[in-house]
Amino acid sequence: MTQVNRVAAAANQHINRNRPLTFIFNGKTYQGYEGDTIASALLANGVDVIGRSFKYSRPRGIITCDSQEPNAIFQVGSTQATTIPNPRATQTELYQGLTASSTNGWPNVDFDLMAGLGKIGGAMMPPGFYYKTFMYPQSLWMSYEKLIRKGAGLGCSPQQPDPDEYDKMHHHCDVMIVGAGPAGLAAALAAAETGARVIISDEQNEFGGHLLCSTQAIDGQLPSLWVKDIVDKLTTMGNVLLLPRSTVFGYYDHNLVGINERRTDHLGEHVTTSSRQRVHKVRAKQVILATGAHERPLVYGNNDVPGCMLANAVSTYINRYGVVPGNELVLMTTNDNAYKTAIDWHQAGRKVVAIVDTRTTSNGELVQQAQALGIKVLFGQGVINVKGSKRVKGVEVAAINAENHSVSSAISHYSCDTVASSGGWSPVIHLSSHTGSRPVWNDDIAGFVPGETVQQQHICGGLSGVYALSNVISDGFKTGSTAAQDAGKGDGSYASILPLINDPQEDPAMALFHIPHSKPTSRAPKQFVDYQNDVTAAGIELANREGFESIEHVKRYTALGFGTDQGKLGNINGMAITAKSLNKTIPETGTTIFRPMYTPTTFGALAGADVKHLFDPARFSAMHKWHLDNGAEFEDVGQWKRPWYFAKTGETMQQALERECLATRNSVGILDASTLGKIDIQGKDAREFLNRIYTNPWSKLAVGKCRYGVMCKEDGMVFDDGVTACLGENRFIMTTTTGGAAGVLQWLELWHQTEWPELEVYFSTVTDHWSTMTISGPNSRKVLEKICDVDVSNDNFRYMDWIEATVAGVKARIFRISFTGELSFEINVQANYGMHTWQAVMAAGQEFDITPYGTETMHILRAEKGFIIVGQDTDGSVTPQDLDMDWVVGKKKEFSFIGKRSWTRFDNKRDDRKQMVGLKPKDPKFVLPEGAQIVFEKDQPIPMTMVGHVTSSYYSACMGYSFALAVVKGGISRKGQSVFLPLSDGTTVEAEICSPVFYDPKGDRQNV
């Protein structure tokens, strides 16, 4: 196919005809040029139908040239890894080999099964159709939804992982300018000249905004030369960051601006020279919104037939891309400005059939210019209907009476293939409403402008309703210098001189949105308001008649503005129609506001570089390499990667665990315990502080001794535990659970800083400073003796003592504490020596077949002893008393301590609270599932009365039977009784309540 609509080159065009590009759309190959969007290239090739509509499956064409586009929303990308759903073809730059297809239109755009549905007519599918028809029976909603979605299509997610990289950057600046049209550029220059730090971003590939499609001379030259001059100046300034292809997707509180920069999307798929997209998070002292205005279409019969376009879009395709999207144009307008489109069309050498002006008269300069070119102008008339299906064939024109919404003459027919319409311009208020600012109606421009804001925000140019170019530029200069001054830079003046611009004198525009038809709206041909969701004027009026009067309700009932375009094109028209049908003004009707994202933003961009191995930090101990080299499987504990078990070749996990457990109980095992939290506590009141934080007393713990402690929150529930050792009269080292370390330190600081600042005590985390290795088992002393310079015999180094010693030539603290119930030594060395010491211990232990074990064996061994793991056996609703650990609660402490008061609450004194017990399954080989619910009576109707659950459950190789820890209502006084566990497979197993201490109940083994 050839580019039938491409016209001769002109100086103001922004395509490179020396760089032809081949692309594929819906399986067919086309050619465009560098600088084209997919939309301009398709129009150049004369492609009319680019998709089907959402609900009625009507053929649709390209309407706009910007972010408003409701129809040309494609699936772009050639593979399941690189495909992108729903970019707007009007904003997607062409590259060699680009592959795109329609997202709507199953099975294809030219022959569509669903189209039958649309043709039958609106009466079949009024607004609320889905709600009314598919809501019942509710159980079937999910399957209805699948069918609807398949028929409608909203693009497909990629089925394969995204191969591209994304990242984020943080910025700070004095003045952030959104939009690089004439206002934004002028503002940037004025702000930058004060020395302020300036960032200016624009969603388009080139700066210039509206000037990119304008032919209006600035200083007697093409507007693009003025743009180039300003951009060149800004580029040479060190204090300005220019971000083209960068969409501000959100404006957040405290002047945080989110920008998505598309860095390689315009070059092709999976370009690896840099990240594909980059999110910039800008914290700006002052924000200038210079987002301009969007042209508003008029609402008329069959206004969705391909060939119906926005007037300014037509001008843009002609002037910027050298594409005239048709042969015979009818322009309908409410204002002088749109006459430019007819003039552009005429000057491109194609026929303007007529300008249909809804006003009774106008004598503006552009009107006179058009008339002088011989273009027919019909005043006081409107295009009330369009003929054609896959392309406009002609229009029906009649005199209209806007006051009583009627047609006041006979219908004239005109042949044409393109209808351009303009109902005026709507300021792009989206970003200003992101921060909660309610837009206000401005009668002068018949549009909403940003209202009051609490942000440090400025607006200028089209956004503030200033449209004449000379005013736009001077507003930009003024706003730029004011914003800089507000940021503390400059004195509010600016040096730039306004360029010479002749703005054509324009007569007043008419505030008209909806063109009447000779039939009432409900009987007239479909008049589309929101193209993406197939919302019509009749649908909105029906919603109003059915009682939906609030614009927010109208929106939700009709789906007005619910598409990926957020109703950019149709919302104002929808409000105007609602206002008219309710006999209110537009300000009385109100407006919906917009939320981020301004245009859809990819998940990849939002995730940035925080994916895969960088998704969450992984923390490692100093011995990690050894664990890797020795076959460890790892378990996540908080962010730490801890060895879970060390399987030998051919071993199952269970076999490895049994081997590790037996080796530890019978000889010696070694565990990397470096991840436990360690807090260095110093100060003369350290002891008293511990008394208040822990449940047990610390006043009499002597230097050189260790003690186990339990911490509760104010509600009396256990939240952490660990051993704390007295290092000196005023110094302790506290250990915490691995996952609880950071939380405990904050807890200590919180109570110290807010409740007991009078206590002289300081806390410092030393978790990472120490590498900790625990050797455990009857041979552990023999191993330690080989590499330690201190007598570690039972006489000299008692259970729950700690000593300083040299281990393998390294200064160490050794704690004689035990979590396995075996004779154990916890060796702590400075972490830079961790690997050295570990290897020395392994070498010394070789003759005893020293066995490394992981967290799972640790869990089994401690459970055999009935030692709890906070967070596994407790869940934030368990008191020390529930754990049968009243022994860890101080009875004589002088000052109160955290949790104490709550234990006197009635609920915490109930004797039927869930209490920790041991469970022995009747079948000694059966391992109860953790989490299994417990009942007292086996034969009960469902739902059964549940009285507890299993918290830890294992098979013990040492004891030869399976066992569990559980919480059971009143369990402590039920030892010896049977309970039942109905399992998810329908079976019920029986177990006996017993003491949670299964192994060595007297504790002899750890005391040898």
Binding site: H172, R197, A609, L614, A618, W640, T675, T767, H769, M835
Partner: protein, 198 residues
């Protein structure tokens, strides 16, 4: 067993020494200043005796204003909080310094040896600011982050203290257990600029 004692820095496994000289002129230059003595100090900055004791032992005034640092011949000190500082001393001298501090300081204070807990990564190069902009939300402009300033901040999803040594040179103090994550992050973030290890 061998009699030699091998020290391994937090980034030992990355074998940075082997990478020195392997890559050309990267826009980001990384050097691990390993095995330095790190002491965490807490105390009352209103107490003249405390301040005098520090001066006596370290030969440099304790930096008192927020986010400031001080450097003397024997020690570098970074302000971490109104009552908390990081003292960095030559490798192996941390025990002596700790002892002297305990001897000379009066009143309520705390000193903790954390030499094994962290390492210092020196980042420099013409693109170092770009890398840092990807990693921290702090404003890196010289007006807000002058030379000598030290900040505690998020570095990607880990925490770090960052000290500016020169316009384009920074020290990152990072925790041992997070150092591998930060090493991976630096590699990712500097890919487009090139990374040189020194």
């Amino acid at each position: 067993m061998s009699n030699s004692i091998n020290m391994e820095s937090p980034l030992h496994h990355a074998q940075l020494d082997d990478l020195v000289g392997q890559s050309g002129d990267g826009g980001v230059i990384l050097h691990e200043a390993k095995f330095l003595g790190h002491l965490n100090l807490r105390g009352n900055s209103q107490d003249p005796e405390f301040l005098a004791g520090i001066k006596e032992v370290l030969g440099v005034e304790l930096p008192l204003s927020a986010c400031s640092s001080a450097k003397g011949e024997r020690a570098q000190i970074m302000w971490l909080a109104p009552d908390e500082w990081l003292i960095v001393v030559a490798s192996g001298t941390e025990h002596d310094v700790e002892k002297k501090l305990r001897l000379c300081l009066k009143g309520h204070f705390a000193v903790s040896d954390i030499s094994g807990a962290q390492t210092i990564l020196e980042l420099s190069g013409i693109n170092v600011i770009d890398l840092l902009k990807k990693s921290t939300g702090y404003d890196l402009h010289l007006d807000s982050f002058p030379i000598g300033k030290v900040i505690g901040t998020n570095f990607a999803k880990a925490g770090a203290h960052i000290l500016r040594l020169e316009k384009n040179k920074f020290q990152l103090v990072v925790r041992r257990s997070f150092s591998d994550y930060i090493w991976l992050w630096i590699q990712q973030g500097s890919k487009e600029y090139g990374l040189t290890i020194t």
